[in-house]
Amino acid sequence: MNYKTDMARVKGLGTAKEGTHEWWIGRLTSAALIPLTLCFLWKVAPLIGGTHAELLTAFQSPFTAITTILFIMIAFIHLAGGLQEVIVDYVHGKAMLVVLLVSTKLACWGMGFAGAFAVAKLAFGA
C-alpha cells in the first residue's frame, strides 16, 4: 500500500530523474550553438583536407580558437543531452539504461574535453 499522494509520487521525477532541467539545458545549448555552428562552418570546415600549416595559422586567431573550443564543448553537452533523451525513450530495462546513460555521458565529456584541449594546444603553439 502506497500512502503517498499522486503529486508526491511524481514530483521531481521523469525517466531521467531530473524534471525539466534537461529540457532547459537542451534549449540553452541549442541557442548557443546557432552562432557557434556558423563560425565553425566558416572558419574550421574549410580546413578539412588542407595542410597542417594552414590549420596552425588558422588557430593562431583568438576568434577561431575561442569559438571552436566553445563549439566543441557545447556541442558535446548538447549531444549528451540529446542521446540521453533518445536512450530513455527507446531503451528498456534498468541495467542497460544505466550502462548506456553513464557511458554516453562520460564519452561525450571525454570527447568534448579532448577536442577543446587539442584546439588550445594548437592555438598556444603545437
Binding site: I34, G50, H52, L83, V119
Partner: protein
C-alpha cells in the same frame, strides 16, 4: 485512491494508425540527424587531436576524412547539420508558441527539408571555391 486502474487504461492509437505527415518525418529526422552527427563529431575531434600531435599524424587522419568514405560521411553530416540546425531553429520558435497552425506546420515542414538541401549545396560550393 491513486492507482486503481494502473496498467488497465485504454491506450491511445500509436503511429502505425496515422497517415504519414511531413511533421512526423521532420520530427524523427531531427532525432536521427542529431544522433547521426555523433560519428562526424568523433572524427573531427580525432582530426584536431591528430593536428595537435604531429604533422604526419594529421596528414594520416586528414587523408581518412577526405577519402571517398570520409567525404560521404562529411557531406552527409553537413546536410544533417543544416537539417538539425533548421529543425532546431523551428523548435525554438515553436517553444515561444508560434507556428502551430496546420498551414504553417505543413509549410515549414517542407521548407526546412528544401532549405537543408539548398544550404548544403551552397556550403559545398563555398568550400569548393575556397
Amino acid at each position: 485512491m491513486a492507482d486503481v486502474n494502473r496498467g488497465k487504461r485504454p491506450l491511445s492509437p500509436h503511429i502505425s494508425i496515422y497517415r504519414t505527415e511531413i511533421n512526423m518525418i521532420t520530427s524523427i529526422l531531427n532525432r536521427i540527424t542529431g544522433a547521426g552527427m555523433m560519428l562526424a563529431a568523433v572524427l573531427i575531434v580525432w582530426w584536431l587531436l591528430a593536428a595537435a600531435t604531429s604533422e604526419t599524424y594529421f596528414d594520416f587522419v586528414n587523408g581518412i576524412l577526405t577519402s571517398w568514405l570520409g567525404l560521404i560521411i562529411m557531406f552527409g553530416s553537413l546536410w544533417a547539420l543544416w537539417f538539425h540546425f533548421l529543425g532546431g531553429l523551428r523548435h525554438l520558435v515553436m517553444d515561444f508558441g508560434y507556428g502551430y497552425e496546420l498551414k504553417s506546420v505543413d509549410f515549414w515542414g517542407w521548407a526546412i527539408v528544401a532549405l537543408s538541401f539548398v544550404l548544403t549545396a551552397a556550403s559545398i560550393y563555398c568550400l569548393a571555391v575556397n
